[in-house]
């Protein structure tokens, strides 16, 4: 485990809590301005959830090319961290929407549906891994499933209906620049946290793989 990475994550996260909960100005145009601060954690958690899924898919490509244990360790570690962060994103989003909106229906929200599909895909990925004993086969089939799932998740966003979910890419909903700085910092902090967790978990997975098959590389 890289100590410096863990320290960096700890420092970034500490600064992030201070910046977003104390320093960031109150948001205008929100019916629940205090609860609004949850979005400094919700958006980065969702970003990490999808990033982690992408990393699992790319590691799957490398796995099919090289059939090594390192890419599989990274894929597994990333999937586990991604599951955690997608649950955080889902939970924080639902809490916030409950405070901000009246009569909010999560199942009519394309981003909620996509996140739910992402969580299901992660769980299926672990179920597949657990059902295969032979390590080489497990690595290979998990990689195939990870790649297929990476195709299904974006498609489920397209297939869901449009919703009242805030969308910063729309001109009438663009984010207040005074708040955007804090969001960017939070995104950075969460990405460092992801890297530190990935490093630690992938090393553990590598040790497990070597114990399982001492003769592999």
């Amino acid at each position: 485990m890289r100590r410096w990475l863990a320290w960096m994550a700890l420092f970034a996260l500490g600064a992030d809590v201070f910046l977003t909960l104390v320093m960031a100005p109150r948001a205008a145009n929100f019916s629940a301005p205090l609860t609004q601060r949850i979005f400094y954690y919700h958006v980065p958690a969702a970003w990490v959830a999808y990033l982690a899924f992408g990393v699992t898919a790319v590691a799957g490509l490398v796995q099919l090319k090289r059939r090594d244990i390192t890419s599989d360790a990274i894929a597994l570690a990333s999937a586990e961290i991604g599951t955690l962060f997608s649950l955080i994103a889902l939970f924080t989003g639902l809490v916030w929407a409950r405070q901000e909106f009246v009569g909010y229906d999560p199942l009519r929200d394309a981003k909620v549906v996509t996140l739910a599909v992402l969580i299901l895909a992660y769980l299926a990925y672990f179920a597949l891994r657990r059902a295969i004993e032979e390590p080489a086969r497990r690595r290979r089939l998990a990689a195939v499933f990870g790649l297929l799932a990476a195709l299904g998740v974006p498609l489920s966003y397209l297939a869901s209906q449009a919703s009242i979910h805030p969308d910063f890419t729309r001109a009438d909903e663009s984010l207040d620049p005074a708040l955007a700085r804090y969001l960017l910092f939070s995104l950075g902090a969460f990405t460092i946290l992801y890297a530190a967790l990935l490093d630690a978990r992938a090393r553990l997975a590598l040790l497990e793989a070597r114990q399982e098959e001492p003769w592999t590389t």
Partner: protein, 223 residues
């Protein structure tokens, strides 16, 4: 045996089914059960079209997943999967052949379920009923494309019959969402422009999963 190898694989499956009739019966019964129970349970609901559309697709997906488990599962049971894999044809043909036979199975189920659905559900047949057939065909193709591939993964794992629905669920959500919304629009006799996005998603889903699975099939067989 080269260019039409996939056809031979599919024809072999169809011939086996015609001789033994072991798969289709439970699959059909499952589909009928889901559709009948669904239509009865939601009989008094005011907005019936959405419920009816969802019921049809849940029935097709459930019945389909039973049939899909057999695509490679049955080969594993009989010990014929190794024979299949040693055939001197490109592996892609095996995948396409299994998609074809799974597609045929789901289509047969749909041909029973859809009329039943109008008879028991007491729904009016929409003027644009050929559109419904198109949606069913595209949906069945997508289910077959994803399911045949996942059946190969599940066949190499423990407790594969329980595993396949778990693997299938997250991957067919986009397909089912588009198919259900499209079916809703067609049942309500809405113009083509209303359900064109759903049609495009179905076509896009079918093409992308067929292409990706053909590419990944080799790796999934263990080559």
């Amino acid at each position: 045996m080269s260019a039409l190898a996939w056809w031979r694989v599919a024809a072999k499956d169809a011939r086996l089914e015609l001789r033994a009739r072991e798969a289709l019966q439970p699959i059909l019964l499952t589909g009928i059960l889901v559709v009948v129970v669904g239509l009865l349970a939601f009989h008094d609901v005011e907005e019936r079209l959405p419920v009816a559309a969802a019921t049809l697709w849940i029935g097709l997906a459930f019945a389909g997943s039973l049939g899909l488990a057999r695509a490679f599962g049955a080969e594993k049971d009989r010990g014929t999967i190794d024979t299949l894999l040693t055939l001197p044809v490109a592996r892609g043909h095996l995948y396409v052949g299994k998609v074809a036979s799974s597609f045929l199975t789901i289509l047969v189920v749909a041909l029973v379920l859809v009329p039943l659905y109008f008879a028991v559900g007491g729904l009016a047949l929409p003027a644009s009923w050929p559109a419904l057939l198109l949606l069913v065909a595209l949906g069945a193709l997508g289910l077959a494309a994803t399911g045949a591939m996942l059946s190969l993964l599940a066949a190499q794992a423990r407790s594969r019959d329980a595993l396949l629905p778990v693997l299938l669920a997250p991957l067919v959500v986009p397909l089912l969402l588009a198919a259900i919304h499209g079916t809703m629009d067609v049942l309500a006799d809405l113009p083509f422009a209303e359900w064109r996005p759903e049609l495009l998603i179905l076509v896009g889903y079918d093409i992308s999963f067929l292409a990706a699975s053909t590419l990944l099939f080799e790796a999934a067989t263990g080559a």
